[in-house]
């Protein structure tokens, strides 16, 4: 990196978080196992109830929301495994609040709120709310939730592709402290939010679901305290973090030491054709690992910038999925052996006030760059590139005084792995949004209708293991002046195959208007007319391993199911149809 430029760094920590260790009597192994499983179950329940009591299709159908429990210092103890991207840096987002309003000054009903990309947050739509949990007057921990809010104001409903800065993207909650009874529940903050969003019934309803989920988590922690006492519960929290750290370090020891490099590219910034490079240097040493994004391109003028918390999140997800067994509970302990650094002012650590709404695209390239570096060390633990984008579309319409906003998040084909074909038509690794059922959109929206939704044959890259197929979704537009905004990627640069596997098919978006095909750029906004047919094609996963090594019976099965066409079977695999 250039001399003198500032950088951000998370440090690998060997020691545990500061805690009052005096009362550290030996924790009974059964009590510990019971309490820790209880904490994990409580976090899971929070997530389920958040989704089920929410209002917007993006939360209730797509499940773009997350929940976690924290110790009293804000370390993640346990999480509902919903969206990896939202979960990684929840404690960083917490700390930004705690630095201004120390936890020990909080009282019942208080809550922290933060969505500020330059105050520990990610993008504005993910609003994080943390509620302190008291037991017999004593602070024992926090419950926290985030939900992707459908619309938080800004320059355009749902999504503002041409925002010049973060202010054009919506309302900012800097790290702050409010009280539920005083400021929400009919109070000033609720009224402020209501006045600044386009679909208040849904947005405010989703906030209520967040508060309720936090209350559920608090109640479960208090029940554990009733049974085991607050001291033992807090001790178990600490031990659960140590446990994850221990298991993760044990796994890291198995990975050969060394310095490895990887890189990946975002197609463009939506203004020029220039690819945006993300570079990762991965250093494995003993039982710790360091990732440095030095050499990554500078921040850009459009919303592709990836705030620091998002970079941390993407990096953690890549390392956690490739190097640890899936049943290690994700918490602060998993983060301790990892240090991450990136130059300030780069795409993956931008300076205020750069817009950040589409930060997922650069975040995915962080994920890919780390994966590419790891491929050199642990080839049997990584997968090839997949769709690896969060393809977000917003189809909105203003009918008189009433807005209708339909936001949908798409994945595509998963990259193939060493043992299995990539998963077809599924959300990409950093996200985990489900689709909105066609029947739900039929019920809720009158400005469009979904007319097609299916797999795209031949979209998965060939290989010993085939990349996952991507899919298309087609919409018939039912009104004039329908606003369509999109950010997506892999329109120009395809997902890359690994170890001889072929690339996945690229993504695209187009409108059929009066028999003419009009291509739509990956990061853009257009107005649609009644009768238009809009179609989004997501990208297919890339293959893993040499094409010639694919067993004939697998090729035959793909042909029978129509996953590949006869032409492709001949051209790619040399198989007669």
């Amino acid at each position: 990196m250039a001399a003198g430029s500032a950088r951000s760094k998370t440090a690998a920590r060997k020691t545990r978080a500061p805690a009052d260790k005096k009362a550290n009597v030996k924790l009974d192994p059964v009590d510990y196992a019971v309490i820790s499983q209880g904490l994990i179950a409580a976090a899971k329940e929070m997530g389920t109830k958040l989704v089920r009591s929410s209002y917007s299709t993006i939360v209730r159908e797509a499940q773009d929301a997350s929940a976690a429990l924290f110790d009293r210092h804000g370390n993640v103890i346990a999480q509902a495994e919903l969206i990896p991207m939202q979960l990684g840096p929840m404690s960083e987002i917490f700390r930004a609040c705690a630095a201004i309003y120390p936890p020990e000054t909080l009282k019942e009903g208080d809550f922290y709120i933060n969505n500020d990309p330059y105050g520990g947050g990610q993008h504005l739509q993910d609003v994080f709310i943390f509620s302190p949990i008291f037991y017999e007057g004593r602070l024992v921990g926090f419950s926290g939730t985030t939900a992707h809010h459908l619309d938080l104001g800004g320059g355009n409903p749902g999504l503002t592709p041409d925002a010049v800065d973060v202010h054009a993207e919506g309302i900012i909650f800097p790290p702050s402290l409010y009280n539920y009874d005083r400021d929400w529940n009919g109070g000033s903050l609720e009224r402020l939010v209501t006045s600044n969003v386009r679909v208040p019934a849904q947005t405010v309803g989703d906030f209520y679901a967040q508060f309720a989920a936090n209350a559920v988590g608090a109640e479960r922690i208090r029940q554990l305290c009733d049974k085991y006492g607050a001291t033992v519960v807090m001790q178990a929290m600490e031990e659960l973090i140590d446990y994850s750290e221990r298991r993760f370090r044990a796994a890291l020891k198995e990975v050969p030491d060394g310095v490895y490099h990887g890189e990946a590219y975002v197609d463009d910034d939506g203004l020029s054709d220039e690819p945006l490079q993300v570079k990762a240097k991965v250093t494995v040493k003993g039982d710790s690992i360091a990732v440095d994004f030095d050499g990554t391109c500078a921040q850009v003028r459009r919303n592709l910038n990836c705030p620091w918390a998002s970079t941390i999140s993407a990096t953690l997800a890549a390392i956690k999925s490739a190097l640890t067994s899936p049943d290690i509970p994700f918490n602060e302990g998993v983060k301790r052996p990892i240090s991450i650094s990136a130059p300030k002012g780069s795409l993956v650590n931008p300076n205020y006030p750069a817009p950040v709404r589409a930060r997922m695209l650069a975040a995915y390239r962080c994920f890919n760059a780390v994966m590419h570096a790891l491929a050199q060390i642990v080839p049997d633990r990584v997968i090839a590139d997949g769709n690896d984008s969060t393809d977000v579309t917003s189809i909105s319409h203003l009918d008189g005084t009433r807005y209708q906003v339909y936001l949908e998040v798409y994945g595509g084909g998963y990259g193939a792995g060493p043992r299995k074909d990539g998963c077809d038509a599924v959300d990409s690794p950093l996200a985990n949004c489900t689709n909105t059922p066609v029947e739900a959109t039929d019920m809720d929206f009158t400005h469009f209708r979904i007319v097609g939704y299916g797999l795209i044959p031949d979209s998965g890259g060939a290989g010993k293991q085939r990349g996952g197929l991507s899919f298309f979704r087609s919409f018939e537009i039912l009104k004039d002046d329908v606003n369509f905004a999109i950010y997506s990627d892999r329109f120009r640069l395809p997902p890359l195959g690994l170890f001889g596997g072929e690339n996945g098919k690229r993504a695209a978006c187009e409108v059929m208007r009066a028999g003419k095909k009009i291509p739509i750029a990956s990061k853009s906004k257009v107005y649609l007319r009644k009768g238009d047919i809009l179609t989004l094609f997501t990208a297919g996963g890339a293959g893993y391993g040499a094409v010639g090594e694919r067993p004939r019976e697998k090729i035959a099965a793909d042909l029978k199911q129509g996953y590949i066409t006869k032409g492709a079977a001949r051209a790619v695999y040399g198989q007669k149809g």
Binding site: P29, Q37, Q63, A212, R246, G411, G452, Y453, L455
Partner: protein
């Protein structure tokens, strides 16, 4: 005489109740041909088939067909443009850090998925009419060519307007009369096309399996002179005449655990217990269910092998904790129990069949809370040393004695079960302290008291013959069916009138269906409205009795919903947000005329004796008693082991046991 035959994974149980008392028969299951095991049980029991009036059967045949994908060739038909509904599913992953994640495999593959050109909208209006000529030209030849024996039809918004689904069905039947056709609107009337399509395909897929099974079984029964009523258990806790299972195959997917819940509910109701948590612990899993006012909780969110089944089933939560669950220490040093199981083969180490990993059954042998002689009435040889040997490494790891390690494993298994019970109680707004715990299954009575204690439950009620409760449940269950209807309507001033109209309409439909099934007209109705705040997507069930409906006001309907919502989601009680009805469910039941009475089997003879057991982290002196020998009114203080031919009941220190006039054994915690 009434006879219940329940086919389980390892054993097939038979319970016969007649004028001369109760008879219990246990034979090994025949996994490949479950009806073979069932018939073996009938033969082994020595009962003359001609004397059986009422034969009720529960079988895993449908479940196995799904789990092993051994159904018959099935096709799926849907709206044009949406052929891949089953393949795409909901686009999410159930394990977020698994890089090689695979979706659950649908029972119908892509090559067997077809489209018809039509479109119905959310309000039921027809946007594009279905052209029968086109169906005959494209779909019918494709179905013929594929040699399909079953077809599932699920069209978009078919839950609102079923006219196109019915037309497609009629066209298929006209040209391919031997094919079984299942339509989504006849299976479940819920929105969300993936879930409804999957439910419909599962139903279609197992339909031929069930049909053939029932035909084969009926024929064989007739050969042996059976002239009584033959019925089959459903996963909703009721049975249906075997003939009526045609067209209802999806309802048998989880019938085994359901029968146990019903049997236990009926038996303890005789002693006036109506709020219970049932606890069925078997060899590989534990099933728990919440029963309020004598009614087991229902759910429509059941999954089989990762595939959603959206029909009402008893809300039974299953976890991988049973006698065969493996005890282990993970690489982070945490003690774990399950979810892996030693299964029936090799089974626990103490079975001496080569099991090399410690299990919960081994732990009981070490703790001496189960006697080696108690296994299959002493017919099975138990290797105590093997149990100790496999527990040694666990004991060493935690620097404990072997007994302490075994005790810790049992406690942890109990804790896992406690969490499962919390999931169906506290998480849904019910306080376990308002319930009694009712254990059954081979190992339920061994664990019940400790689990009750952890949940602060004061009373445990153990039915007689607890080890074969599912077989009893078959003959103790009513005949029942559900009628469902989706009709969205905001809850306004006319809500009460609307609700009464819907009820009347559904009741008329139910009576008609009962007539078709030859069920007499003395039906009992239970009515539930699925309601939510406008804008939400998940509903909260709210029940209304016929008596309620007669006089309830619209405001009272609203309040009842808000209170239910508050109970589950921690908000909503004082909300003034608009509320809507989404769908309705009417259960109609034909109660069995007289409950067959379950009793303690008296010919089980063991001598009362002093025994030692390791429980609560210490050795304790206690008594061993045969349950049949306990005189009503006598109180037995724990620690004690009470045995019957089907299970061992552990009464820990601090608890007392007594047998009541209905042969239920009541455990109470000392004040």
């Amino acid at each position: 005489m009434r006879v219940g035959v329940e086919v389980g994974g390892t054993f097939t149980d038979l319970v016969a109740i007649g004028p001369s008392g109760i008879r219990i028969t246990k034979v090994p299951s025949v996994p490949r041909r479950p009806d073979e095991g069932a018939f073996n049980a009938l033969l082994e029991s020595g009962l003359p088939l001609a004397k059986i009036d009422d034969l009720a059967h529960g079988s895993t045949v449908a479940t196995n067909a799904v789990l092993e994908r051994k159904g018959f060739p099935t096709a799926f038909v849907t709206t044009g443009g949406f052929r891949d509904i089953l393949a795409i599913q909901r686009h999410g992953r159930s394990r977020i850090y698994d890089l090689e994640y695979q979706k659950p495999a649908p029972v119908v593959d892509r090559a067997s998925s077809f489209e018809v050109d039509e479109r119905i909208l959310a309000d039921g209006s027809i946007e594009k009419a279905l052209d029968p000529a086109k169906v005959e030209k494209t779909l019918i030849p494709a179905l013929r060519k594929g040699g399909y024996q079953a077809v599932a039809v699920c069209l978009l918004n078919g839950y609102v307007n079923s006219v196109h689904e019915e037309l497609v069905r009629d066209l298929i039947l006209k040209h391919c009369p031997d094919v079984l056709v299942t339509i989504s609107s006849g299976t479940t009337r819920e929105f969300r096309e993936y879930e409804r399509a999957t439910t419909t395909t599962l139903s279609a897929y197992v339909q031929p399996v069930i049909d053939r099974y029932i035909n084969r079984f009926s024929a064989r029964l007739a050969e042996h002179g059976f002239k009584g009523r033959f019925s089959v258990m459903q996963s909703n806790g009721g049975r249906l005449p075997a003939e009526a299972m045609r067209g209802n195959a999806v309802n048998v997917l989880l019938s085994g655990p359901a029968a146990g819940v019903v049997g236990a509910t009926r038996q303890v109701a005789r002693s006036e217990f109506s709020n219970l948590i049932t606890l069925d612990i078997g060899g590989t899993s534990t099933d728990v269910c919440l029963v309020t006012d004598g009614q087991p909780q229902l759910t429509t969110e059941f999954m089989i092998d990762g595939l959603p089944v959206r029909v009402p089933v008893l809300d039974i939560h299953t976890i991988g904790a049973g006698g065969g669950s493996i005890v282990w220490v993970d690489e982070g040093g945490m003690l774990r129990v399950g979810p892996h199981s030693a299964g029936a083969d090799p089974g626990p180490a103490c079975y001496g069949k080569g099991g090399a990993r410690p299990t919960i059954t081994d732990a009981h042998i070490i703790r001496q809370t189960m006697r080696p002689e108690a296994f299959l009435g002493g017919r099975m040889k138990i290797d105590v040393e093997a149990a100790k040997r496999v527990f040694r490494p666990i004991a060493d790891h935690f620097k404990m004695s072997i007994e302490e390690a075994a005790d810790s494993a049992v406690q942890l298994a109990n804790a896992n079960i406690v969490r499962a019970i919390q999931l169906i109680s506290t998480e849904r707004g019910y306080d376990p302290r308002d319930y009694v715990l009712v254990p059954f299954g081979g190992a339920g009575p061994l664990h019940a008291a400790q689990i009750a204690q952890d949940l602060a439950i004061e009373t445990v009620v153990v039915p007689p013959a607890a080890g074969v409760m599912s077989a009893y449940g078959l003959i103790a269950s009513d005949f029942l069916q559900f009628e469902t209807l989706t009709r969205r309507r905001s809850v306004g001033e006319d809500a009460a009138r609307f609700l009464r109209e819907v009820y009347a309409e559904m009741k008329a439909r139910a009576m008609e269906r009962a007539r078709q099934m030859n069920l007499p007209e003395k039906l009992v109705f239970d009515f539930t409205a699925e309601m939510r705040f406008v804008g939400q997507a998940f509903e909260v069930p709210v029940s209304f009795s016929e008596k309620d409906l007669a006089k309830i006001s619209s405001a009272a309907i609203l309040k009842r919903f808000c209170d239910e919502h508050q109970k589950v989601y921690f908000f909503g009680a004082n909300s003034d947000k608009p509320v809507e009805f989404v769908s309705f469910r009417l259960r109609f039941t034909l109660p069995i005329s007289k409950l067959p009475l379950l009793t303690e089997e008296t010919d089980h003879k063991i001598k009362a004796a002093d025994v030692r057991m390791f429980d609560g982290r210490r050795w304790q002196e206690g008594r061993l008693v045969s349950r049949g020998d306990i005189k009503p009114g006598k109180r037995i203080k724990g620690p004690a082991l009470l045995e019957d031919p089907t299970s061992t009941l552990l009464v820990p220190a601090g608890w007392t046991a007594s047998r009541d006039e209905n042969d239920n054994t009541i455990l109470k915690r000392k004040g």
